[in-house]
Point group: C2
Chain length 218, copies 2
């Protein structure tokens, strides 16, 4: 294994361990000692990559938006739906994502970690809505940034409610229900029937994405 590749793997192992500890204990109660024990790397390696708990948290948060990766779609509204459904599908089984969500929710407005990833998600969704608007997919009153903020805010809260009531067992169903409720106020009538918003959409787009990216690596 080349040295650079080893460094990337070590960094990933540390981030996964940190995310698991943040997910379990929250930011305040998490300790570097616990992260070190789980990552199974040397103290030197950990401090080489992240020299404070805050930097570990920022690393976990920065790893969140790439988890929204999906394949491009002809309808950009579909791609927006796909991002939200893919994250809903990945979240329960992905410690890195879970740790990031707990940090973002816990630290909202607490300052230490800034805006968290909210601003990044809003930017991603705004971009897709701007494209959707340019393609004539959305109703005239829709403002991309405002709708993006609504989507990101609602997604986050629906996730919390699902976590509180069913430990996220019904998260995908709830996000699909959210889209069923709000899309008629966003999409033009001609596009609406072409959008797939079932609760299985997350599994489908994640599988399609993984297949496509695996092929590319071979």
């Amino acid at each position: 294994m080349a040295q650079q590749e080893r460094a990337i793997r070590t960094r990933q192992a540390i981030l996964r361990a940190a995310a698991a500890v943040f997910d379990e204990y929250g930011y305040e109660a998490a300790t570097i000692a616990e992260i070190l024990a789980r990552a199974e790397v040397t103290k030197g390696a950990l401090y080489f990559h992240f020299d404070s708990k805050e930097k570990l948290a920022r690393g976990v948060l920065a790893a969140q938006v790439p988890q929204g990766a999906v394949l491009p779609q002809p309808f950009k509204l579909q791609e927006l739906v796909d991002v939200t459904m893919a994250v809903a599908h990945r979240l329960p089984g992905d410690p890195l994502l879970r740790g990031g969500v707990r940090l973002a929710v816990e630290q909202a407005g607490q300052g230490a970690l800034g805006d968290g990833p909210f601003a990044d998600w809003v930017e991603l969704c705004t971009g897709l809505l701007v494209e959707a608007k340019a393609q004539g997919e959305v109703l005239p009153h829709v403002e991309p940034a405002a709708t993006a903020e609504l989507v990101v805010g609602a997604w986050t809260g629906i996730q919390l409610l699902s976590q509180a009531l069913t430990r996220r067992a019904d998260l995908e169903r709830r996000i699909a229900a959210f889209w069923a409720q709000v899309l008629p106020g966003i999409a033009v009538p001609g596009v609406l029937p072409h959008l797939a918003i079932t609760e299985h959409r997350g599994a489908e787009v994640v599988t399609a994405y993984e297949r496509a990216t695996t092929v590319r690596l071979v």
Copy 2:
């Protein structure tokens, strides 16, 4: 002052102090010593009312739903909007509500405090939607419980986003924008134009409620 009245005031003072400490430090880092110092009551008085940190947190959470109090409205959808706007209006200036929101968000799915107040809010909103449905205000596909969960989830997340991005300065505007986006998918076309969903609605309904309840007490 009658003894009972004094006990109620002491209990309220303790709850307000506890909420402020939870709002500032979160559940884990909050201490009974700090709550005691802020409440300016004796240790005996505090333990008479709440004998653990968990009971203090439950007391703060239980005080949350009554803060959604608004006057009854002919359209029950208006009353539902009013509850969400009243809480958005009260939240930034009300330590008891702020402490409860931080606890609910932080503890979602962490177990110690159960479902938090999510289930209570969902119940309140479901009741209003059942009445709205009985009065013919909602579209045929609307299921009261599912729509109530969507509203509570979305409200919570929009609040978090507002807290992260603007320290809640734009919370009322964001909740009003949420309603503008989703009400066309909930209300029948004949009712929709009669619903007031401006960002000033919260201030109006809180003022009206306070005037009505003050008169009643005189």
